[in-house]
């Protein structure tokens, strides 16, 4: 199939391109980028005047729930949500049931993704068997099966010695370790950010230092072992400062944050709406400001939404018993575009954080429109205004605190391997 995308503003940070040009796709690859490319016979021509054409967006931190928790999401519905949200590649965390801690589950996830035939799905294997924090999984075998990284996301590795061994062993295999930084002793029993709002709501607090202490610990382990660490969903000012300092000292530390951490504060929890319950918890205004600074100065490499779909039964309960998480794939780009609208980052910086940077962290040959690359492309209508409606989500998870929120800018065409997987070009404001 041949496809010619005409007249869009092409932003490809990896090639340092930001200009109005055409993109030509042939046999699933980028055949060329340039001015006034002539359509070859049989090519479908799409006029993208006024649109933004970027490398396919990558979300390096999602939960697809399959195997085991299909009532929340399946790999197929998660992939539908991904392409509808503009994502051509996603990396899924291993906290399924059973946990993805072995070759066969990793293979199963990849097979299901191929059957779904929508987005590229990259499984992340567990660090420890059952993510129980005791015994290492077979890292080499997981990599052979297709795992691109290792993490016990949601169940942080509390044992520092185990974390050290995991980082040493994985480094030699070229697999990044991703840590959900939370000291479980400091956060024990906590339900929301510790501070004024937790105090008046009478909810047990999770202090910012629960995150900071573990970020600091893992940076020290990475430094000592001369390896690397990737910090997941950074939510605190303290963590941003620690990561920034580590980077200044030349350490191999990378980090991501999620849209809710630069959009919402703990003030939103005042009516006990469980859609605002996430882990780590929504922090205070000073943390939100620090996250934006970290995004602006490059301390935070990537934006990943921590897509955490849940069923109604998981959320329609007392706050204390409600599950953590936001179904985020279909709002991530819209919320992140606010960073551009508000002048926090440039277009090129935002696209880098949502394509090239996560590709680099996960060693994926993705995130660029250079000739010869896989034709994974996202087309964004930057002027399209729309309102979030969870009933229209492709994801099974309708748990979003952003329901009813006005957005500006939306993915209108998602192309994976040269094929159009989502077409919303006809959508009007």
């Amino acid at each position: 199939m041949k496809l010619l995308l005409k007249g869009g503003r092409v932003i490809d940070p990896a090639s340092k391109i930001d200009a109005r040009m055409d993109v030509y796709i042939e046999d699933g690859k980028i055949a060329g980028c340039g001015k006034d490319i002539k359509a070859s016979p049989g090519a479908r021509v799409v006029d993208l005047t006024g649109m933004i054409v970027t490398p396919g967006l990558i979300d390096m931190h999602v939960h697809l729930r399959e195997p085991g928790l299909e009532y929340k999401e399946t790999i197929a519905t998660g992939c539908q949500a991904a392409v509808a949200g503009g994502f051509t590649s996603i990396a899924c965390m291993p906290n399924t049931s059973p946990v993805n801690d072995n070759h066969s589950i990793t293979e199963f996830i990849r097979r299901k993704a191929v059957e779904a035939g929508l987005a590229n799905v990259y499984p992340i294997g567990a660090i420890s068997i059952g993510s129980e924090g005791r015994q290492l999984t077979e890292f080499w075998d997981l990599r052979e099966a297709g795992a691109v990284a290792l993490s016990d996301d949601g169940k942080p590795v509390m044992d520092a010695a185990l974390m050290r061994r995991a980082m040493e062993y994985s480094y030699s295999l070229g697999l990044p370790v991703i840590q959900h930084c939370e000291d479980k002793n400091l956060s024990a029993g906590g339900l929301m950010n510790e501070g004024y709002y937790a105090t008046i709501l009478g909810l047990p607090g999770i202090p910012a230092i629960a995150e900071d202490v573990m970020v600091g610990r893992d940076i020290l382990i990475a430094e000592y072992t001369r390896t690397r660490i990737h910090i997941a969903h950074v939510s605190t000012a303290g963590a941003v400062r620690l990561i920034r300092d580590a980077r200044k000292r030349g350490l191999n530390v990378t980090a991501e944050t999620a849209p809710h951490y630069f959009t919402l504060t703990d003030e939103s929890l005042q009516n006990y709406d469980t859609n605002y319950k996430v882990s780590p918890p929504l922090r205070c205004a000073a943390d939100v400001a620090a996250i934006k600074e970290g995004l602006a100065d490059g301390t935070l490499d990537a934006i990943a939404c921590d897509h955490a779909p849940h069923g109604r039964t998981d959320k329609e309960v007392e706050f204390e018993y409600a599950a953590n998480g936001i179904s985020g794939l279909e709002t991530s780009l819209g919320l992140s575009l606010n960073l551009v609208h508000d002048g926090v980052v440039t277009w090129s910086e935002l696209i880098a954080k949502m394509s090239r940077n996560p590709a680099r962290i996960l060693n994926l040959r993705k995130g660029t429109l250079a000739p010869g690359s896989d034709a994974d492309i996202t087309v964004i209508n930057p002027e399209l205004t729309w309102t979030v409606d969870v009933k229209a989500f492709h994801s099974r998870g309708k748990n979003s605190p952003f329901h009813g929120r006005k957005m500006k800018g939306r993915a209108v065409l998602t192309i994976v391997g040269g094929d159009i997987k989502f077409d919303g070009l006809a959508t009007r404001s």
Partner: protein
């Protein structure tokens, strides 16, 4: 004037006028409990469900007596005897009860926000009888009624609340209520019992009992729960009592006519020395219990459309 709300969820969202209305209404009900026949027909034909997900003797009994003295039919459901143990969710329980058309559901729950969840779902009036460490509005109202009776006013008084502020819904409701009514509230406890940013509620926090109770008109001591020791909130009851027990010596720092309160049940010798707790010159602990019935009668009456 009538109460312009469907539910009583907390003191935070209550106006001064509403607090005054409730206290005045309660005042008029006080006399009923002193009669030989302690019953008036005011709420005849109304049904009130006491839905208690957490153990409680005095609050549940107080609500039950309040309902009965107004001739309402009161039904008690406690977590141990209900379908909760069979795994029914709060929402399903609420919808089931709603279908039986009670007029008021009084709920006590260990999870903060549970009454709010209920209030948003059912058409009946919800009274929060204590939710986690969040609010306990009827307790704060009876405390304010007791203080007002003893001191003739609330505005301008200094009220010291001492103990485990972190886990106390009584403290939070009283901080809101007393501050709204013009009293000056201070709290005291070991740093581990003071919630973060508590002073942003417009009060002063101390770690020394003596500093907090100096020149106080009212000293309110909170119950210490032994299980907090396991969480290292405090090292031992012995040490707690040595630093925070109100006794004959430290009470001299307060105003001479200080009154001493406690929401109960008391750990004698831990929060308050027995001779202070039993001293009729300063202890108003049993007055609080007495006012509790009147305040709850007022809440039930106002929510079922009394005063219209």
């Amino acid at each position: 004037m009538k109460l312009g709300k469907k539910d009583i969820l907390g003191i935070q969202d209550m106006s001064v006028d509403e607090i005054n209305l409730i206290l005045e209404t309660a005042e008029s009900f006080l006399e009923i409990s002193t009669r030989d026949i302690k019953k008036v027909p005011t709420l005849r034909g109304k049904s009130i469900i006491n839905l208690f997900y957490e153990a409680s003797t005095r609050t549940r009994t107080s609500f039950e007596i309040a309902g009965k003295r107004l001739s309402a039919d009161t039904i008690n459901i406690s977590a141990s005897t209900s379908s909760v143990t069979k795994g029914e969710t709060l929402i399903d329980t609420a919808r089931t009860l709603e279908a039986m058309n009670p007029d008021i559901v009084v709920i006590r729950h260990s999870a903060a926000g549970a009454p709010h969840l209920l209030a948003g779902l059912v058409k009946q009036s919800i009274i929060n009888a204590g939710d986690g460490a969040h609010e306990h509005p009827s307790q704060a109202l009876l405390d304010m009624m007791t203080i007002q009776e003893k001191k003739g006013k609330l505005a301008g008084l200094k009220v010291a609340i001492v103990g485990d502020i972190l886990h106390s819904r009584v403290a939070r409701s009283n901080i809101y209520g007393l501050s709204k009514m013009g009293a000056q509230v201070v709290v005291a406890g070991p740093a581990t019992m003071l919630p973060r940013d508590i002073e942003q509620m417009g009060i002063k926090a101390y770690t020394k009992l003596e500093e907090a109770i100096t020149d106080a008109d009212v000293v309110m001591m909170l119950r210490i729960q032994l299980e907090r020791q396991k969480q290292n909130i405090f090292p031992s009851l012995r040490e707690y009592a040595q630093c925070y027990c109100l006794n004959r010596t430290n009470i001299k720092l307060a105003k001479q006519d200080v009154i001493v309160m406690h929401p109960g049940p008391i750990n004698r010798g831990v929060e308050i020395s027995p001779d202070i707790a039993d001293d009729p010159d300063c202890s108003v602990i049993l007055d609080q219990v007495n006012k509790g019935v009147a305040v709850r009668m007022a809440l039930l009456y106002l929510l079922t459309g009394g005063n219209e």
